[in-house]
């Protein structure tokens, strides 16, 4: 084989080896969740059985337990509700802010944008103690409203940063043309910039929603009642009866929560990267 062609074959093999190993290592836990969900408890807890195959026929028992005898669906509902509300609050505050910082305020606006982004880096594990007091004082303790209040504190900076990246990529001339045609600044924003940025806004919606579903520390700190809890805290906490882990239902819970979000996320990843690289790499 010609030298060039042989090299290409070697590259391809090396690529598949690297990609294959990483894919397996990274995705394995989810595959494991999938198998565990459908394996009978006896099959799971018999040490001699090969865990990779179904030694006994698969079962839906764990799913039945999860949906019928736990508050799983309540948590899913809580998380979805909180997600929707927080996305709403975030868009309401972040969209105009991002636009203002990109277009209307010049250099110090840019710097302010960086400053706002830096607040995203302030961790919940630093703020949760004072915030727990604030939440208690407001009487939101142990309700989903505590997190509805607090979550925008990190979804807004993140969204502003993402949106600034998107807005920067819209040529200024478009808005100038609109204003020459008779729109006001605000009108140009509402009628021109927002519709053009729909895909960017959708990306922000998806990413904000996933941030909400993933959050753990605040939900753990502010909410203790099972029926008010969020998904990511409810599952590891309340699906354990005493010291006994109901692994089958537990894995089912994890799988069902993870996969749909992953699918949505993947659809919007390219747009996210585009917005990210505008901001980070000059």
């Amino acid at each position: 084989m010609q030298g060039g062609a042989a090299r290409t074959v070697r590259y391809t093999i090396a690529r598949w080896i690297v990609v294959g190993i990483f894919s397996v290592l990274l995705a394995f836990p989810f595959y494991w969740m999938l198998i565990t969900t459908f394996k009978q408890t006896a099959d799971l807890y018999t040490l001699e059985n090969n865990p990779f195959i179904f030694n006994m026929p698969p079962t839906l028992d764990h799913l039945r337990l999860l949906f019928g005898q736990t508050r799983y669906l309540v948590w899913v509902g809580n998380t979805a509700l909180v997600g929707v509300i927080v996305v709403g609050i975030t868009l309401l505050l972040a969209l105009p802010a991002a636009y203002a910082l990109t277009r209307l305020t010049g250099k110090w606006g840019e710097n302010m944008g960086i400053g706002i982004f830096l607040t995203y880096l302030v961790p919940p594990t630093l703020l949760f103690i004072p915030l727990s007091r604030v939440v208690a004082l407001l009487g939101l303790q142990d309700t989903i409203w505590s997190v509805v209040l607090v979550y925008p504190s990190f979804t807004i900076p993140f969204s502003i940063w993402l949106l600034m990246g998107f807005f920067k990529s819209i040529p200024r001339e478009l808005e100038d043309a609109a204003m020459v045609d008779g729109l006001t600044r605000l009108g140009a924003f509402v009628k021109l910039v927002v519709p053009i940025s729909i895909s960017g806004i959708l990306t922000v919606v998806i990413f904000t929603f996933t941030l909400v579903t993933q959050e753990f520390v605040y939900a753990l700190t502010f909410i203790s009642t099972e029926s008010s809890q969020m998904l990511s805290v409810g599952v590891p906490t309340f699906l354990v009866r005493g010291d006994v882990y109901y692994w089958g239902s537990l894995m089912a819970a994890c799988l069902i929560a993870s996969v749909p979000i992953a699918i949505l996320y993947n659809l919007f990843l390219d747009r996210f990267i585009a917005g990210f690289t505008v901001g980070a790499i000059k």
Binding site: V19, P29, L104, I129, A262
Partner: protein, 329 residues
Amino acid sequence: MAMRANLPLSAEALPDVAGPPLPPSPATPRVPWRRTPEGRTLLLGVGMFAPAVLYIFALIGVPFVLAFVYAFSDVKVGSVGYHWVGLENFRSILESPSFRKALANSFIFTIVSQILVIVGSTILAFPLRDKFRGRGLVRFLILLPWVAPISLGAIGWKWILDSLYSVINWVLVAMHLFKPYSAPMWLGEPTLAMASVILVQTWRLLPFSTVIILAGLTAIPKEIPEAAEVDGAGFWRKLFQIDLPMMLPIINVAVLFGIIFTFTDMTVVYVLTAGGPYDSTQVLPSLAFFTGVLGGDLSQGAAISLFLVPILVAVTYFMLRMAHKSEVV
């Protein structure tokens, strides 16, 4: 021009440069700045971002200050008043072996996992650069650890690392590397527990880091590696002298993010080991949680979590410096 000052400013006295003089214009009223177009735009801008900024100030700025305020007090969950105790909390924390262990663990946890993440994601980014059949599926699989809620991924690992039913142990026993019932207790032995926690954190951060580094890799203009090829560079020289140096800024960004997300994370430790066995996997944030939230000692908890601040400040400084440098390009 001083000599001109004495001349009368009548029309006849001025030299006729461009035709007959214009009639005097009507007096224009002085418009306040806030009504000029520039002023209005700026006010609109401020109005548009003020709500967001206020929200952030209220929910991040104020609690941030409160953390300091609490740390210097003896406030507990049931407390009514506020008593200043100076550095008392810090003194007792620094003397506590739990705290010292947690501090050391935080560093080990962060440094080791970040090294693994950066090396792993850099290696993974290269093959992902080119389009190939199945790349979409591969991307989906690789992103799973990052997209799934952290606690759920951690619970999944807890099952995989279970002392009795670990699938890893089953494989090890099946390969005759261990006798049954003597396989490692991944979450039960101090060193192994630390390794497990590091493993799970690495697993979680790898996708995010890979995405960032891949973005940096694809930003390298195609002609530069081609020029290197024409100049005679082989695979390794291209990699180490061209690709990696050009990716250094973005690798820095990935590292800095990773440090923050890891150093300040409590979820992995909380779900996997709850800090055990015997504090061997306790880290600062989880210790702060156990002390301040579960234990009710708000002031001690706040004091512990304040030790996160120096790291945050250092990382922020480096990120700003890099952002500033890249602007110069």
